[in-house]
Symmetry: C4
Subunit: 232 residues, 4 copies
């Protein structure tokens, strides 16, 4: 598939998505979620069976709309104007699986942020001990299975875990957090929030036994928060 | 109530307050107290039964005097020139309750800063083991009750806890710190200091048993500090 | 004493010291050692019985050579051209005591940096488990007595503790670190290094039992390091 | 040996190396790996038996291609145009030993980054509990022997430890991490990654018992990662 041969409105939609995704990558280092090249943002192209994702091995300071790679929902890079030497992120297959199986998801983010990844190394969910977690995650942040790159097992693990939870974040075992949202910005926000609550809950667990929030309070917080625009 | 119909001196006072509050919000991310939109500053308008607070869901980099919302002491947004789609922070009812019941308070700040919130998740006060805590807090930083958004219970919890303490900061259970001051800048300073002492005391508690400061020393530190302008 | 009536070369020396001290204050927030106004740098004026110190209650971003206060070795502010409302730091008496009693000391720094202050809250020295500590501190970083502002007890505690140690840093109990050096820059470096080693050693102590460096190795490291200019 | 008398292509190669090494030093403070002057980068000069290393005692903000020192593989500074008062880093002998004994290594980095150094103070390797560690380190990050400056013992300890491991990083006991790579940039990346995994694994170990990654999975991750360019 060649980008320059697609319908003009699809080309415009790809362009806008590349601009958003390039810009949102800056949030990852700005929020302390990544070092070097270890994290990426992807977003479904509105109106097309395509998504945009970070190129592999390129540092954040060098990202621009022009080097964002464009892939089919099967995870294959199209002829998008970038050099053939520029591969899409090694997490492309996982993101593609999510976009294929969760039509409500418009954005996916993966990081190895420190505290969330520490819970992942323990195969331990982040318990809901903060009202902010009720708001954002509707309960605990769950752990997904151990899986390594090479087939669909990472993508499948993400989708199966998220489907049995209200959380937009999953901690893949020994690996790190993947987050989803209606678009890339929402997935970035979830990546920021999962690290924030992981850091706070880890600190509380080191100091003692944090007090759980009762289920009916979690439900009330989650319902209110999901039904209002904006907060705080 | 329409801002443009208020007396000119009140309009000028609102304007000056909006400028201060917009500017002080920059201190929250600069001091590492917040991520995304998760914290806010509010300040009573001198000479009027109004206060200014952050709009809901707007990121810190987009705040300006013009999008600060203006509310009555009942927590109702007035016709302040901002679009009707822009709601005041979801913490507005809590701030309004504080301004109504604590006339000496001119500023309120709420964050979910990591270490202070970890103590809040444990329902554990921060014990006074630092001379800096004697200076700033006059003793331990107390814990307030568990309360969720929807009625006056957060505001009431803040006020009742602060009234039985010398501390300008309260750790609302499972939620996070609220701080007060004679104006917004003083409340921001208290928000910065409560996270600083929470981080230091948490580290000390993880390593061992920090030594309490004796009550007479706390009293001496607090009296001296509150009666001089400036320090260090 | 009036600055403008002192000999021209003394006035020039005061000016140069004010510039150095104002500039070095920027290192405190840049190195994460302080929040708000909670730390200060002071330096003896070469060729005069005077020293320069931060004014009280002024934020780091507002410091300039012109608002640095000039004091006698008794800790009295001279008529230095700043407004009479601008007081020298509340740590002035402690710094003055050090300058009077340790003629080899040209600079003093005080902070409440997190990890060093956590050790201070425990009344626990930082043990020498790093080669870097052998280099910089010649052994453990010692704890000084509990003392509060109001007389010479802080200054005396600093001096007595430093005299029985090779360390340029002392952790004043429940308070925080004070560091000294041949000039203000050396004292700032010691303040940076004491927090660095406190953070590393605290992390090691939380994880297990760090292995001490043998005394003869400490001695060899310290001798080499103190006799060469520059390192790393 | 005088730089200005070397063949023009060697002089050009030295110049390019100095520019790379000066620029890469900025990554050390930017990634939070160093304070003050406590870390350095060195790189072999392509086409010559020389390497470039940071000058001793110079702060990161003052580094430029012109003050990078040029040394023989014996660790002797050549007449490189810098003042004779400017000595190469005190870690020069260690880097020289590595360059002499590991011809495949083109870059060496040394830091005292907090978490990696905490493991070093415990004489404890960082266990492979993260898929990222399988990728980057091919297993645990090993500990090297205790050694102090003065002979070849640091360099020998680095080389012997790295030779019995797939890891490009070694934690020298009570001292800190040394990392290697095909060039200086790769060694800087390894220095960034070793601190990242040390921080994550330390946090997991404080909270509980992180789950090891099985050896066959480590092997699969390492093989894949080392055979593709770029990642994430």
């Amino acid at each position: 598939m060649r980008l320059s041969e697609l319908a003009p409105d699809v080309q415009a939609s790809v362009r806008a998505t590349r601009e958003r995704v390039a810009r949102l990558h800056a949030e990852l280092p700005a929020n302390g979620l990544v070092v070097w090249t270890a994290g990426n943002v992807s977003e479904r192209v509105p109106g097309a069976d395509l998504f945009v994702i970070k190129p592999s091995g390129v540092r954040y300071s060098e990202l621009s709309p022009d080097n964002m790679t464009v892939c089919t929902l099967e995870g294959e890079k199209i002829d998008d104007g970038t050099p053939s030497s520029l591969s899409p992120s090694s997490d492309t297959a996982a993101a593609a699986y999510v976009f294929r199986h969760m039509p409500e998801v418009g954005g996916v983010v993966h990081t190895h942020s420190t505290y969330a990844t520490a819970f992942a190394a323990l195969h331990r969910p982040i318990p809901c001990v903060l009202t902010m977690m009720g708001d954002e995650f509707g309960g605990e942040v769950p752990v997904g299975p151990f899986a390594i790159i090479g087939d669909d097992s990472i993508g499948r693990g993400i989708v199966e875990t998220l489907r049995s939870s209200r959380s937009p974040a999953v901690l893949m075992a020994n690996h790190g957090p993947f987050t989803v949202g209606k678009n890339a910005e929402a997935a970035v926000k979830a990546a920021v929030m999962v690290e924030e609550v992981a850091r706070t809950v880890a600190t509380a667990q080191l100091l003692g036994d944090p007090v759980p929030v009762a289920q009916d309070h979690i439900d009330a917080l989650y319902q209110r928060y999901q039904n209002v625009y904006g907060q705080h």
